[in-house]
Structure formats: structure tokens, C-alpha cells
């Protein structure tokens, strides 16, 4: 006999093992070592979340009740996988080219990035998944109860409910930890994929082990097993034809539409070749999973007393034969099936809920929209965590409400039928350009309503939600609206009845709605990109001219992608255009690419709306639409060649123009400087001369003389400093002078710089993290200190904020250590950013600055000599300078 405590201990150890697997996989992926994590084998195994506890326990129960019919649930996906060249290949290609994050995102993106459609699909998915999640909780608790009962405890409803609650809490934890660790730009979760791949092996192994035991251990070989089947109550082959056919269709369709399947099939997949392997390997997995179902069912029927629950034969048969080890293995198999499904389903659903419901509401509730302050990433992650908890809570509530008494197979089919309502809009959107968002919305709502009325609400039991009298006679006595006999079609199987009517009317509404309405330009553009994804993957732009400031876009991108990644994207684009720094020219292509990057995190609709707020007005032009409508490849190719050429010319022209602007500005400034330098020299000279005249004449009182001498001294010092600066710059520029290398710590350098520059009342407040600054340096520390002093002094001088604060942030940028100096003042206008590092340049009036405008020029020369660099960092909410430390650091 297995003690209940042993079972709990084994389960906990197994969970800990999964945690470690997920953790290691995540670490490997972070270090870029996890190539094997993305192999075809892992991909195929991750698809096995199709086989939930409904398969593991339910299939045997199903077979014991209705014979071979259970197999239809696995034949449908087999046909879909074998037919990957038709649908899946296209789905995966679109998923990659459009950065699709979920099935709701796919539908929303196809129909003009519509927020409303995203909401509808999300709601359907959540409602349809709830019974399914309840089913998983139920199966884990029921199987635990089997062990509890055999070890003498007697579990009642109370214990079952609390066990379900614990399972739900544990799953929430695991999913939150590994599913929302970071907001990945591609929405991929290496840790979780690896854990479910391991679980896939465990459940297959467990079911096959029980099967082998039953066939060779109990029945006594293949021949006797077949005899046993022929002698059992399911010996006769008499499937209702409609159900056989209908369930193959239903399962195949659900395989494509289930949010969790979409997550592993499309979102987590970044390589089409994996699909090609999975096209035969996954049917093989399904086949092996189904192989021993009928033998286990008939042996269970034969062996166990009348009235025992056939859904638990996988456990109770080994237990009845006294094989405790096998029973525990089988329990772990069922546990794996349930948990892996719940984890992936909640991740998929929480992505949908956060991207299509929470974030749009959150954005519109804030004035200023995309440009407001605050980190969107944090809000998105929080929304995901809460939705994970919310989805599991819904599942738990459904489990408690439904009483957990139904046959497993029935709940699964209800869920499948609900989610399949997405199929017409999805397939229609993939193959028919004429499909519009109105048609999609009409189809989705019609199908969802019929499903709810004819299958979902009656599933709570007669009289629970829909009163018995309505079930019998229809609402208000309208017989043709009876939930289970719509339009008078009585006597049909309830599931098939619901599938038939919902699919027919859903498709009809979708087609009629699409034909009668007219699509938006963006819809037609997206439609063309989806339908013809293999012809022109790049496609035309949905933004015609960038009316946005690059800096605004950077601010927004930083809040969604994080500062490092956003700066990388901007810098890369700027370099591609042949520009320095972080602010590229805002070309339509760049806006398009950026929007796609953002869509990978928050979904197409939200991303489009946010970019749209910045890039005002023109999204799609008539010319773009003509280009789409005109299908001749010549035009496409010719224009793309022209485009490449003109892009090249544009780049050169831009570089020339930039150089020219710089030269002009410099020569103007140089003239100004000559005037200014003479002025700078003259002012102290004048006062020195006049005061020395007074002194020479004599006769002034003693203290007066001392004061005059003091003024002369100060003015002389000022002159010397100016000349020193000029000399210093000259030396640096000509590469003269030696560097005195020293070893030291970044923290000490910053300490010294602050001590030297931050003095007196009302000094700027410095924010820094000492722990970040523990970096060993081997360079000319005095020179580096000089640079820091200059930056801090500048912030002190120019920061206009009432309460000036300077943040000193140390971070990794492009593989090197960087120190950012960010103040909270007004920042530097874009037209000046180019010029500030040039010598003699100064933005405000010079009296306030009290220098000749050489400081930043000296800093730049120093950093170049040290082997680092200094640049202006736009989009930080104030003036910000980035010092890249020398490589030796």
C-alpha cells in the first residue's frame, strides 16, 4: 500500500525537479548556450500539452463508455499536423513576420490591428478555457483522493476542495515565476518550454508503462487482450456517424484555435524547419499515447467492481494489482499532463488579457497617452501576473460550482467547441483578402452566443443557469430556440448540435458581414500581407511619412522594451543611416520596424495605437494601396530596386548634409569665438590695467590697496585658467602629453569628482548606487576624474530644475561599461545636441557659464585618448551624458 505521505513527498520532489529544469534552461538561454533548447525534439514534445489530464485519465474513461470514439480526438490533430503545408506553415510564417503574441493578436492584427476584435477573441478564449482548467484541477484532486482513500483517510468534498485550492496556488506561483520573469520581446519562455518537454516524456512513459503492464502483465499478451476486447461491452463497432465525423473536425479545429496550442505551435516557434519534423513526430506521439487506451479500459472494466469510475482506471488498475510503484508513476504522469496544460494555458491567456484588455484600458485612462511618464513594462508584467491568478481563480470557481461530478470527456468537448468559434475568422483571414473586421466580429459574436446558449450554459446542469422549462420549451415558449434543439432539430447529440449550428451561423455571419462592409486601408494592407505572406513577406509600409520626433519615439520605446534594448535599436538604425548617436532619421520603414518590435511585447493593436499617437495623421496612403492591389511582381521588384538605390543615395546625402551643417556652424562659431576670446581676454586685462593704474598713483588707504591687489590677482587667475584650457585642448588634440596609467576603482573616481565639484549651499543632489560602481579601472584616473568633474559641474550650472538632481547610473551598453550622468533639467534641444562637443560652442549666454565653452570639448578629447567615448544620450527626461569607459576597465 502506498502511504499518502509518500505520495505527497514524491510529488513535491517532482515539482522541485521541474523548478530546477526550468531554472537551468532559463540560465542556459540567457547565456546564449541553449541551442539544444530550441531543437525539433523539444518543439515536438512541447506540442504534447495537447494531451492534458483529459487524455491521460479521460481517454480511458471515454473508451470504457463509448469504445473507439475517443480516438477521434487524436485523429483530428494528426490530420492537421500531416497537413502542415496548408495551414500551419502559413501560420508560423505570419507569426514570425508580424511578431504575433497570441491568437487574439493574430485576429486583431489581420483585421487592421483592431482593439475590439482582440477583446472579443480574448473573452471567448478565457470563457472557453475556464472549464478546461477546472477539469485539470479536478483530475489532480480526484487522483490524489484515490491514494488518500486507499491509505485509510476518507476524503470528502471539503478535502477535495482544499486540495484543488493548493494545486491552483502552486500552479499560479510556478507560472508567475517562469512565465513573467521578463517581458521578452519575442514572447518566448525557454524555462517553461523545457519543463513541459520533460513532463511530456514523463506522461508518455507513464501511460505506456501502465499499458505494457496491463497487456503483458494482466491480460497475458496481445492475443488475449484482443479476445478481452471482443468479450467486453465495447466490443461492437457502432459509432454514431455524425459524432465520429464531427469530433474529428472539432478536435482538428481546436488544435489550431486553442490559445495554448497557438502559443507552442506559433509563438514559441522561431524556425519553420521544426514544424517539418513535428509534422510526423507529433502524430507519432499521439499514436503511442492512444495505443494502450482501449486495453486499459477493457482490463479495468473486467477487473474492477461494477460502478468504479472509469476515468481513474489508469490509477486504480495498478493499485488493484498491488503495483504501488507503477501507480505512483501513473499519478505523476497525470499530474504532469494537468500541470503542463494549465501553465501554458494561463501564460497564453494572461498575455491576451494583458495585451488586449488591461494595457489598452490603462493607456487610455492616462492623460497624455503614449508619452506619459512611468514604466509600461512594469504595468504589463503586473497585469500578466494578476491575470494568471485570475484565470486560475476562474477555473477553481468553475470547479466548485460544477461540483466536479461530470465525466471528463464532456467538459473537454464543451471547451473545444467554444474555442473553435475563432476558426472561421482565422482561416478566412489567412486565405481571403475580402474578409473584414465587421465580418469577423459578427461571426465571432454569433458563434460565441450560440455556443453559450446551446452548450456552455446547459453544462452547469438542468435548472442551474437555464431553467428546465426553457430547456424543454424554449424561452418565452418559442420552441425553435430550445437550447438543445435549435430550429427544431431535436434528437441530435448535444455537442454535434452545438458544433453544427455555431459553425454554420458563425461562418455565414462572417461571410455576409465581410461582403457587405468595406475594409479600412490598414485592414486591406494587413490582409494582403497575411494572405500573400509567401509572395512578399516584407510588404508595403503602413506609415508613409514619419511626423514624429525620434526622441519622442525613443522615450516611448524605452518604456516598453527597456532602455538598453531600445537604445540598441535606435543606435543600430542610426548607424545604418550613417549617423552618429542614438537618434536616427524617422523614416517610414523605421517607424514600421519599431512598431513591429513593440508589437512583440504588447501586441499589434496597442503598439499601433501608441506609435499612431506620435506619428500623427498619415498612416496608409492611396499609393500604398495601389501597390498592394497591383500584383505584378515587376513593379514590386523595380520599386524595391529603386528604393535600395535611393536609400543609398539618401544615406550619402544625409552624411554630406550633416558634415556641411557642422562645418557651417563651426565656422560661424569660430568667428564668434575669436570675438569672444578677445572679449574674454580684454575684460580681465582692462580691470587689471585700471586697478594697477590706481595702485601706481598711490595715496589710497591700506585696505583699499589690498582690495585692488586682490582683484588684480583674481583676474590674472581667470586669464591663466583660460589659457590653461586652451593649452590643454591643444595638447590633447595633437596627441601630445603622456597618460599616467593607474589602477583604481570607479567608485573612488566618482567620489573624488563629487568632492571636487559639489560644494556649497543649494548644490545639486546626487543619486547613485555604490554597489554598481565596484569596477576596477586601469587608465589615467586623473583625466577620468577631470571628465566627471566637468559633467557634474555642468549639471550644476545648467540644470534648471527647482530641485536639481543628478543621477549617476552605471550600466552595460553594447558590451562595455558605461556611466550615465542624467539630470532632471530641461535637457538639450535636438538641434544643439550635435554641436555641444565641438570646442568654442556654448548654448546659453556665457556670463552664466563663466567659461569659454571648452569643457565638453576637452572631455571628448580625453575620452578618445583614454580609449573610451562620451556622447549625449537623448530621451532621458533631462540632459544626459554617457561615458563609455575604456576597454581596459
Amino acid at each position: 500500500m502506498v502511504s499518502f505521505n509518500l505520495l505527497v513527498a514524491v510529488s513535491l520532489a517532482y515539482v522541485a525537479f521541474l523548478f530546477i529544469i526550468a531554472f537551468v534552461a532559463e540560465r542556459q538561454a540567457e547565456r546564449g548556450k541553449g541551442k539544444w533548447l530550441r531543437s525539433s525534439v523539444v518543439y515536438t514534445l512541447s506540442l504534447s500539452i495537447y494531451c492534458t489530464a483529459w487524455t491521460f485519465y479521460g481517454a480511458v474513461g471515454y473508451a470504457a463508455r463509448s469504445g473507439l470514439e475517443f480516438i477521434t480526438i487524436y485523429l483530428g490533430p494528426t490530420i492537421v499536423m500531416i497537413g502542415w503545408w496548408w495551414v500551419l506553415r502559413k501560420l508560423v510564417r505570419i507569426g514570425r513576420s508580424q511578431r504575433i503574441t497570441s491568437i487574439a493578436d493574430l485576429v486583431s492584427s489581420r483585421f487592421g490591428k483592431s482593439t475590439e476584435l482582440g477583446v472579443i477573441v480574448t473573452l471567448i478564449a478565457v470563457v472557453a478555457a475556464t472549464p478546461y482548467i477546472a477539469l485539470q484541477l479536478q483530475s489532480v484532486t480526484l487522483s490524489t483522493a484515490v491514494f488518500a482513500n486507499t491509505s485509510g483517510q476518507n476524503w470528502g468534498a471539503q478535502e477535495l476542495a482544499s486540495a484543488a485550492l493548493w494545486v491552483a496556488v502552486g500552479l499560479t506561483l510556478f507560472t508567475v515565476i517562469f512565465g513573467t520573469r521578463n517581458l521578452d520581446a519575442n514572447e518566448r519562455h525557454n524555462g517553461i518550454v523545457m519543463a513541459i518537454a520533460v513532463e511530456a516524456v514523463v506522461k508518455l512513459f507513464a501511460l505506456v508503462a501502465v499499458g505494457v503492464f496491463v497487456v503483458w502483465g494482466v491480460a497475458g499478451g496481445i492475443g488475449p487482450t484482443l479476445d478481452l476486447i471482443d468479450a467486453s461491452k465495447i466490443a461492437e463497432w457502432s459509432p454514431p456517424g455524425g459524432r465520429w465525423f464531427g469530433l474529428i473536425f472539432l478536435s482538428g479545429a481546436a488544435f489550431l484555435c486553442l490559445p495554448r496550442m497557438f502559443q507552442v505551435l506559433v509563438v514559441e516557434n522561431d524556425d519553420e524547419s521544426r514544424l517539418s519534423t513535428a509534422s510526423w513526430a507529433f502524430p507519432l506521439y499521439l499514436m503511442v499515447m492512444s495505443l494502450f487506451v482501449v486495453p486499459i479500459a477493457v482490463v479495468g472494466l473486467d477487473l474492477l467492481p461494477e460502478g468504479s469510475n472509469p476515468d481513474l482506471f489508469v490509477l486504480t488498475v495498478p493499485l488493484a494489482e498491488g503495483r504501488s510503484g507503477l501507480a505512483i508513476l501513473s499519478f505523476l504522469g497525470g499530474f504532469s499532463s494537468a500541470t503542463s496544460m494549465v501553465i501554458v494555458a494561463t501564460i497564453a491567456l494572461s498575455t491576451m488579457v494583458s495585451n488586449h484588455i488591461v494595457v489598452p484600458i490603462w493607456l487610455s485612462s492616462r492623460a497624455g497617452g503614449a508619452m506619459m511618464s512611468g514604466d509600461v513594462r512594469y504595468a504589463v508584467l503586473m497585469a500578466r501576473r494578476l491575470s494568471i491568478g485570475g484565470v486560475l481563480l476562474l477555473g477553481y470557481v468553475y470547479y466548485r460550482l460544477s461540483g466536479g461530478g461530470e465525466a471528463l470527456a464532456a467538459i473537454g468537448l464543451i471547451s473545444f467547441t467554444g474555442v473553435v468559434q475563432i476558426l472561421p475568422s482565422m482561416i478566412g483571414g489567412l486565405y481571403w483578402r475580402g474578409a473584414t473586421r465587421w465580418g469577423a466580429a459578427a461571426g465571432l459574436i454569433t458563434g460565441f452566443a450560440i455556443w453559450a446558449w446551446s452548450l456552455f450554459l446547459p453544462s452547469f446542469g438542468a435548472g442551474e443557469v437555464i431553467p428546465q422549462i426553457v430547456l424543454d420549451q424554449g424561452p418565452f415558449g418559442w420552441g425553435w430556440l430550445r437550447p438543445q434543439a435549435l430550429f427544431g432539430f431535436a434528437g441530435l447529440d448535444t455537442v454535434i448540435h452545438a458544433v453544427l449550428w455555431s459553425m454554420l451561423l458563425n461562418t455565414a455571419a462572417f461571410v455576409i458581414g465581410s461582403v457587405l462592409t468595406f475594409p479600412l486601408p490598414l485592414e486591406r494592407l494587413q490582409g494582403a500581407q497575411f494572405v500573400d505572406v509567401f509572395e512578399h513577406s516584407t510588404g508595403t509600409r503602413s506609415w508613409t511619412h514619419g511626423g514624429a520626433e525620434a526622441e519622442d519615439l525613443l522615450v516611448m520605446a524605452q518604456r516598453i522594451l527597456g532602455s538598453t534594448e531600445a537604445q540598441d535599436i535606435f543606435q543600430r538604425e542610426a548607424r545604418r543611416q550613417g549617423k552618429e548617436g542614438y537618434l536616427p532619421e524617422v523614416t517610414p520603414k523605421f517607424v514600421e520596424d519599431l512598431e513591429r518590435e513593440l508589437a512583440g511585447s504588447v501586441g499589434a493593436a496597442t503598439s499601433h495605437a501608441m506609435v499612431g499617437q506620435l506619428v500623427q495623421g498619415a498612416s496608409v496612403s492611396v499609393e500604398d494601396l495601389i501597390a498592394v492591389a497591383d500584383e505584378t511582381a515587376q513593379i514590386m521588384e523595380y520599386s524595391s530596386r529603386l528604393e535600395a538605390k535611393s536609400a543609398e543615395q539618401e544615406r550619402t546625402a544625409r552624411q554630406l548634409q550633416e558634415a556641411n551643417e557642422k562645418l557651417t556652424a563651426l565656422s560661424i562659431q569660430k568667428d564668434a569665438f575669436l570675438g569672444q576670446i578677445s572679449h574674454e581676454l580684454r575684460t580681465p586685462m582692462t580691470s587689471i590695467r585700471s586697478f594697477s593704474d590706481i595702485l601706481r598713483e598711490g595715496g589710497a588707504p591700506q585696505e583699499m590697496q589690498a582690495r585692488h591687489a586682490g582683484i588684480i590677482h583674481d583676474e590674472a587667475v581667470r586669464l591663466t585658467r583660460l589659457l590653461d584650457d586652451l593649452l590643454d585642448l591643444n595638447v590633447l588634440e595633437n596627441g601630445q602629453g603622456t597618460l599616467s596609467r593607474q589602477e583604481g576603482h570607479l567608485r573612488d573616481v566618482i567620489d573624488r569628482a563629487i568632492a571636487a565639484s559639489v560644494v556649497g549651499e543649494g548644490a545639486i543632489k546626487i543619486q547613485r548606487k555604490h554597489t554598481e560602481e565596484v569596477i576596477a579601472l586601469d587608465t589615467d584616473l586623473d583625466r577620468l576624474t577631470q571628465v566627471f568633474i566637468n559633467l557634474i559641474a555642468n549639471a550644476q550650472k545648467y540644470c534648471t530644475a527647482a530641485d536639481p538632481v543628478l543621477r549617476i547610473v552605471v550600466r552595460k551598453a553594447g558590451g562595455r561599461m558605461a556611466v550615465d550622468f542624467i539630470d532632471n533639467g530641461a535637457g538639450i534641444a535636438k538641434e544643439h545636441q550635435e554641436m555641444i562637443f565641438e570646442k568654442f560652442s556654448r548654448l546659453s549666454d556665457h556670463r552664466k557659464a563663466g567659461g569659454a565653452g571648452l569643457g565638453l570639448a576637452i572631455c571628448r578629447e580625453i575620452m578618445i585618448r583614454l580609449g573610451g567615448s562620451i556622447s549625449y544620450l537623448p530621451g532621458q527626461g533631462g540632459a544626459a551624458f554617457r561615458v563609455i569607459l575604456p576597454t581596459e576597465a
Partner: protein, 89 residues
Amino acid sequence: MAVRGKKPVFLERASYRQRRLQDMARLLPVVAAVLFVLPLIWKLAGNHGRGTSDVMIYLFAIWCGLIAVAAIISRRLRLEPDDTDKEES
């Protein structure tokens, strides 16, 4: 990129093979669907000699066959970045 309307009439032997493999890949699910529904006709034909065990053996045999064929096709099919139209040019 291929120019539409000017597809070449003849293809190289290798490209020709690829095309036929794609045809097979498209056809296979249809064959699978027909074979999986076939047992219903036995019932309609009133052939009561066939029981659950016979149908089970039939289904699993078909299943294995389909997996084998799908494996052969997917191994030989070349996946190119832009596979549908490029082979023609």
C-alpha cells in the same frame, strides 16, 4: 522573385521533384481524412463481423503508415526562406 504569368513551362529535374513533393504534402491530409472516416462505411454496409478490435487494428495500421509517409515527405521537402515562388525563377 518570379514574374507572374511568365512561369517556365519546364523545370529542372530537381525542382520538378520538389513540386511533386509539395503536391504530396498537400494531398496527404486529404488521404488521411478519407482513410480515417472509412470505417463508417463498413458500418453502413451492415458488416457486423467487424468489431472494435478489428477497427482498432485498422486505424493504428493506417496511422503508422501515414506517419511514415509524412516523415519521408518532410525529410525530402526543402524549406527555403521564400519557398513557394522562388524555385521557379
